[in-house]
């Protein structure tokens, strides 16, 4: 085995505690620089997503990283707040995925938020979609979805369509080609932007109690249109 005293720069950095890898390491709880770096190899060019994200933020396509608490908030508390916010968004995505679940058996999705290296899994169980936040990583057969938290925020808020997110490099998919295709279609079906735009146009004419039914109706129309195609 390698002697620590003769370790390379990498090993020395690791020995020094720059990274203390543990099963479910994520940026809200641990340093993740090397884990994120290795993503670029395991999922080739996945770090390009981070660059695409800040470019989209600069262009106003997705939200900027807002402050988490004021200056008096400790780093630990800020991390907790960040984690809570991320999980809240992932839960919204869970609902959207459930709504858009295709008829065929979809693959499970392992979503990683690059900046924090927070892994979560969406399992298609029975007719439901179940989120497990903060997992060790993907399981065999999962389609890995590499993205950033503001992208999820933009998606679930209807600010950005999944197709645009994929086109802009804000989401990259990794895994078996067929599974990836299904996952792509699945994600594309959660396009909340168009429905929200239409809903907003109609909002002047409907009561808030009608809102949910209207969205359902729009989705149903979209499904029918797809079936026709």
């Amino acid at each position: 085995m390698m002697r620590n005293a003769n370790a390379t720069g990498l090993a020395v950095l690791l020995l020094a505690g720059l990274v203390s890898p543990w099963a479910a390491a994520c940026g809200f709880h641990e340093q993740t620089t090397l884990l994120r770096g290795m993503m670029n190899w395991v999922y080739p060019d996945s770090l390009h997503v981070a660059t695409a994200a800040w470019k989209a933020q600069a262009a106003g396509s997705i939200p900027r990283d807002g402050p988490l608490g004021d200056e008096n908030v400790s780093p630990e508390a800020r991390n907790r707040l960040g984690y809570i916010k991320a999980v809240s968004l992932l839960k919204k995505l869970e609902r959207a995925l459930a709504d858009a679940r295709p008829g065929e058996s979809p693959p499970n999705l392992a979503v990683v938020l690059l900046q924090t290296m927070l892994w979560s899994r969406y399992e298609a169980v029975d007719r439901m979609v179940r989120l497990t936040a903060h997992t060790n990583g993907p399981e065999p057969g999962d389609v890995v979805v590499v993205t950033e938290r503001p992208v999820i925020e933009a998606l679930v808020d209807g600010q950005l369509s999944p197709r645009d997110a994929l086109r802009m490099g804000l989401i990259k998919l990794y895994g078996d080609a067929d599974a990836r295709r299904i996952a792509f279609d699945w994600l594309a079906r959660i396009d909340l932007r168009a429905s929200d735009e239409l809903a907003q146009d109609l909002a002047l004419h409907v009561t808030s109690s009608m809102w949910g039914r209207l969205r359902e109706a729009i989705r149903e129309k979209a499904k029918q249109a797809e079936n026709v195609d």
Partner: protein, 649 residues
Amino acid sequence: MRTTTVTTELLRKPWIALLTLAVAVPALGQDAGGLGKDKAEQVHKRPPVYSPFAQRDFPTRPFFGDTHLHTSFSMDAGAFGARVLPREAYRFARGEEIMASSGQPVKLSRPLDFLVVADHSDNMGFFPDLFKGKPEMLAHPTGKKWYDMIQSGKGADAAIEIIVAFSHGTFPKDLMYFPGTRGYRTAWNETIDAAEAYNDPGRFTAFIGFEWTSNTNGNNLHRNVIFRDNGDRARQVEPFTVYPPFGSDNPVELWKWMEGYEKKTGGSVLAIAHNGNLSSGLMFPVVEAFGRKLDRDYVQTRAKWERLYEATQTKGDGEAHPFLSPNDEFASFERWDKGNLDGSIAKKNEMLEFEYARSALKNGLKLEQALGTNPYKFGMVGSSDAHTGLAAMEEDNFFGKTTPQEPSPHRMTATFFDNPKTGVKIMDWEVSASGYAAVWAKENTRASIWDAMQRKETYATTGPRMVVRFFGGWSFEPKDANDRLPAHIGYAKGVPMGGDLAAAPSGKAPTFLVAALKDPIGANLDRYQIVKGWLANDGKLQERIFDVAWSGNRKPDATGKLPAVGNTVNVAEATFTNTIGAPELVAVWRDPEFDPAQPAFYYGRVIEIPTPRWTAYDAKRFGTKPLPGTAMTVVERAYTSPIWYTPKR
């Protein structure tokens, strides 16, 4: 500090000859080789011809490059996400636009003239191969297991296992790339092939090289090894490593390897150490090294192989430290002085003397008296040590030290390094956009640039490509500063940076012809200083800084201190103006305190006016709010190799 200026000629006119030759004309078709004072005098005494440039036989322009760049072939660079390969690194350095590992296009403002891809020799090439599933990886059960995990979608787990294996020291030895293994040989051959492919004599020099990475207990004793030779010779060996039994962490063993290489191949190599500031006081020992008392053999061998020192780079500046040089107003510059490389040992003041270039140059004078050879008679270069494959060290085009530090809104506020046990913490904003090596060679070829490095006709810059001349002799006169061809006079009447002055003529003191031109697209110059170090008659080492040329009509005060040049930086807009400072500085200076019995060294330090630091550009471009304490301006500079005076014994 008393400022003594014999002649300060601030010539506002275009400094036509040096500027033109230094910047615009590719030095093609010139012959290679060293240039001594005798040869220069011979050239100068040739029968006169009309053209002042005909029959000229000295370096006419500095070549700018990076002697220390890592690509994805370096284990740590790969782990940080770098995917740029050596070939792409050379393409980038010679001016092409490439895609950075973070997925953004990047290009230099101007091509560099040369590059050394100096990947860590230990495990060279491991990372790309691991993920390619090369046969040598799959032949090992653990390698196959990791590869299968990646292929089956468990790549994240594989990444964690790899990191844990390293951090716990359980990485399978058989899987590592040692000298003698097929994988290591392949990686070295690919490194050589890349350099051979992009070496373009006369236009761009791609050196073959590697970094030997001694890091015991986190103390940085790294050296970059640079080959003068082409692949036919470099291929006859494999790079020296640190891991036993093939390698060693003792520099003495590296020097033996270098000697072995030269004997075996008839080639030539040199080694450049760096980051003494992270060595816990071990970089420049004066008593013992690796448990052995310094002796004549040690000092001679070190002086032979280590003729340059990398005095500035991304992990901090290494010229001087304010604790050691309290009277030097410019000593506190881009400091990384909190601990060693991994932060496992916090810095103590008593370490500093053995970590910085200036103190080493001073201690070298003393060691020479005791042991007959000055082991620290080194010249200066700067380089990047970037682990991105990108030698991008311009403040407005800085692509960081590692891939996570490539431009993004997060890098200004992220933590680079944190060792809670010792409290040593480095933020990403502390990474320095520095530097480059400038080499006065006669042509842009491996042989010519390497020979210039060997004779120390080099200087370090912290990024800007300022043109700096520094000549020492016994007979420079004030009027020499008025000549528009100072190099003609400099080489004829003296020695260039890296040279020696010996046998002081009776009643004479050393004189220096200094000249500097601003970077053509950079900032004006504040001042040209000469740093002198000497061994006094009482056996104590001394130093003093002299302002010898400066911009404007500033007058030194009663203590000799020159007023500050001013500051035009608009941090919010990340702008500055060249309304202060001077585009060129030239002067002749005579040492007013010279004692012919005292050994001494002199080197030039050229100071730019303040400019926006990369952090200011980031804040402007990303709208990022800097953390308290973030440095937002920078005073760029250059350090020349010294000229030494050695009394006659």
